[in-house]
Symmetry: C2
Subunit: 186 residues, 2 copies
């Protein structure tokens, strides 16, 4: 079964394919404009993005993720990619300079449209961890070099994709969508 | 003539009223949900917000503003209110600690719907200045206590509303809308 991904992010595509392809789902990029609203809720952002596309004859989904840092009241949260391209990793480290409470949560939300469903389904995943004091590693993308998941000493960027998938917020959201797709009789 | 403002921000309402009321425009809050998209362009954000409301029998407008800091590649920009409520003024000052280039621009964009117009009109205003090294003043709102307009030594928060209006990005955008409204034969 073919399923379309409303995104132009090749890193995410690679991560998501690694989960869905073993189960026979072929994931393809959907070359359409994605409208993202401003909201504190990732679930709301992806749901609206799918709603704005409207009904299609094929299944498609949108995903959004963000790094929510406790001490910064959830910043950069839903605006993580904007923060990444403006203040960058160094900006986040500067904001966290001298801060003891380094707890943070990586969150992901997926909204799925399927022509045989009446409503848009939302799946969420998260992983708790801490912000490191320096950037480490070259794998992954975005804020991966400064996020250490709970129970680990390495950042996401120091792990292979397979290792990151064991913990990652996106992996958890994708798994929930996969369970739904496998369990639903279309 | 009555004109509606798609916003719940009482500070902005007060500023905007101070310009329009002397010319006979009664500005009222429009109690409807405002959908703001994620975009680097304020003009695009307000235009879409007005489009999402759709056609009405009365004139209404949306306004969005942001503080664009050169050294931070435009951050916090369109996400200034999110940055304000999460990292706050102290967060911005921390990001600017030790930074020599303190240039910044406050930008405002207004999108106007009028039942007698075929298209949504957009008006923009901006003011250049610098980020102060500490917060000063209690007037205004948002990042006013750390923004010093060019040619001044005081921050926006150290000025009365009348003084701020002489420089402000929002004042400039509103004046353009006013000129348009006064010049157009409805």
């Amino acid at each position: 079964m073919k399923i379309y991904f409303l995104s132009k992010n090749e890193h995410k595509l690679r991560e998501i394919r690694s989960f869905l392809e073993p189960y026979g789902f072929e994931v393809e990029i959907m070359f359409e404009d994605k409208v993202e609203i401003q909201s504190d809720s990732l679930a709301e952002i992806v749901k609206k993005a799918v709603e704005f596309v409207g009904r299609r004859k094929y299944a498609f989904f949108a995903e959004d993720a963000g790094l929510f840092i406790d001490h910064l009241n959830g910043f950069p949260g839903p605006y993580s990619s904007y923060a990444y391209k403006t203040i960058g990793i160094d900006g986040i480290l500067k904001l966290m300079l001298g801060v003891e409470d380094r707890k943070a949560t990586f969150r992901s939300a997926i909204a799925l449209f399927h022509p045989k469903l009446d409503e848009i389904k939302v799946f969420e995943g998260h992983v708790e961890g801490v912000i490191s004091t320096e950037k480490r590693g070259t794998e992954g993308f975005g804020f991966d070099p400064i996020f250490i998941p709970r129970g680990e000493s390495r950042t996401f960027a120091e792990m292979s994709l397979e290792e990151k998938n064991r913990y990652s917020h996106r992996a958890r959201a994708v798994k929930k969508m996969l369970d739904f797709l496998l369990g639903f009789k279309f």
